[in-house]
Symmetry: C2
Subunit: 334 residues, 2 copies
């Protein structure tokens, strides 16, 4: 159905269109890539490719442009991920090495990725549910209020100020803290509810109201942050590109945590392989016209790059993969 030459033609069309941003015609194609056939032959192949929906022409008598289906074939079969130059690798290393805490890692990563790909980078914070409790702290503020701080093994910190139902002495708080830590230390966050379910019963009666309040806050923290924060950078890189769908929609999508979440998250069966979602394959209408290249990193979180469907997939995929690996490495080390 599609012989080798037709595939070569498709590949050439994608490459040319990506680099010039103009519909590519048979003549230029036959010249620039040494296919050793005449434009007429190329035209025949193009007709076949168009027939099957891999390319399209914007108007009669204009060159051809890849369709989403064409890009899909290109990504799946016709391209190889391009490794980064050693200069780029060094840049990544030095840039990420200076990070001081988790926040900083995420911020630096998203900027780095945006700069490297000249597109919009999207990074999800490592999810709480994948991590374990490293420490839980209760800090008395007044006799009716305590500050609750939860520290995870990924370096993430969650805090809340809790208003207690009754006054409580510091020593009791300290005791409560000790019990909680003994019970939860090293425990996976998704196991926390099981661990603490029978905890109140093991406490002196007078501590139970306070404990109940604190535990409910703890549980709340876990579920609330279950859908995690996503940050992006490089929106300025959108300014040049033109989307079928309008810049506004894209910017709106980027500020909608929920949309981004679905975008990144919906393909987490194989966490460390690259996912590419092209144009209309995207779940959100505003993002037709954009493609996402994403992958998992660390333990369960995801990061990626959003750009026009007309993007340089091999290079982008190389950058995303490389950055994801470096970040994973850094997170594992700390």
């Amino acid at each position: 159905m599609l012989d080798d030459r037709k595939l070569a033609v498709l590949r050439a069309i994608v490459e040319d269109y990506v680099s010039t941003n103009e519909p590519v015609g048979s003549k230029a194609l036959a010249e620039r890539h040494n296919l050793n056939v005449s434009p007429a032959t190329v035209r025949n192949d193009m007709a076949a490719l168009e027939e099957q929906g891999y390319i399209a022409q914007p108007h009669t008598s204009a060159g051809r442009v890849p369709t989403d289906k064409g890009y899909r074939l290109f990504v799946d079969k016709l391209s190889q991920i391009k490794p980064l130059s050693s200069a780029e690798r060094r840049a990544i290393e030095t840039f990420l090495a200076g990070a001081v805490d988790l926040d900083d890692v995420v911020t630096r990563t998203v900027r780095l990725l945006a700069q490297l790909t000249r597109q919009v980078a999207v990074v999800q914070y490592p999810a709480l549910s994948q991590s374990t409790v490293r420490h839980l702290e209760l800090v008395p503020l007044t006799d009716r209020r305590v500050m609750f701080v939860l520290i995870t093994n990924t370096g993430r910190v969650e805090q809340r100020v809790i208003e207690l139902p009754e006054t409580i002495e510091e020593s009791r708080i300290a005791h409560l803290r000790a019990v909680l830590n003994a019970c939860l230390d090293g425990c996976g966050l998704n196991q926390v509810p099981d661990q603490i379910s029978d905890l109140p019963e093991r406490l002196p009666v007078e501590d139970r109201p306070a404990a109940a309040t604190i535990l409910s806050v703890l549980l709340e923290t876990l579920v609330e942050r279950h859908d995690e924060k996503i940050v992006f950078a490089g929106a300025a890189n959108l300014a040049g590109a033109d989307f079928t769908t309008g810049l506004r929609d894209v910017l709106e999508a980027l500020e909608e945590q929920v949309v981004l979440m679905r975008l990144l998250g919906e393909t987490s069966d194989m966490p460390t392989t690259l996912t590419v979602r092209i144009g209309s394959e995207n779940p959100y209408t505003g993002l037709r016209g954009t493609s996402l290249v994403a992958t998992g990193y660390g333990s369960g979180a995801r990061l990626g790059v959003l750009g026009p469907t007309r993007m340089d997939y091999p290079v982008t995929m190389g950058a995303v993969r490389a950055v994801a690996r470096y970040v994973s490495q850094i997170l594992a080390a700390s």
Copy 2:
């Protein structure tokens, strides 16, 4: 030099131009605002206003458009801040009331402000230097590493993992923590360096290396975060507007913390009054073409709205002021 009617004409020009986004001519002006004079008279006044640089015409034989100088006069003398409708007030209250921690307050604020003004909102995190130490926690992780957590009265939490020069027992850590807290509790962050300068001398010799490391991290935390984080929202609202300077520059500026910092910060002599910076008054070239309406909130931090110079100043100023007040109130209460 500028009699009352000329000022009225300027005001009318600004108002019309803001609402229609088209150069406003003498005829339409005389009709729509009941100035009770003929177009010819208005023309004379316009000529005078143009002479003095308050308005300009894009081309010969087009209507007039306010200049930055014109907007300046309008903001300073000709307009009154427009209070919010009670529906809007309620919206603010309910939207901000649900915030659970400082992060959440800031996130909600910036979104609220963007939505309310349909422009880009910019919010600076409350600065550390303005706050006081509420608690300082040291959590032993292994025998060579401790996690350092600093909690301030504004609810902000800073944490670092510290690698110690030598192993240290938990009890010593606990002691160190007690000493540190006794020394620093309630102390303003900018006084911390003085407070801890002679601390090592008061400790047993064997604790000093560890203490030195920890103290240096503490100091580092203070200076590093002295320039604080700024977040923005509502970039999608830029999509419609057109700037003389190009959308790309504006987006770039928004992602440059340093630029934003200067933008918001440079007028902090009168923290709780509204600052308006119009077009070319902005420090950064990419932001000619945009105006900033900002004010202080809480204790020393700032928030504001960035939009085209052609913005509805009275309404925007009303929204910024109202939001700043509500947020301050919430921060003070917690």
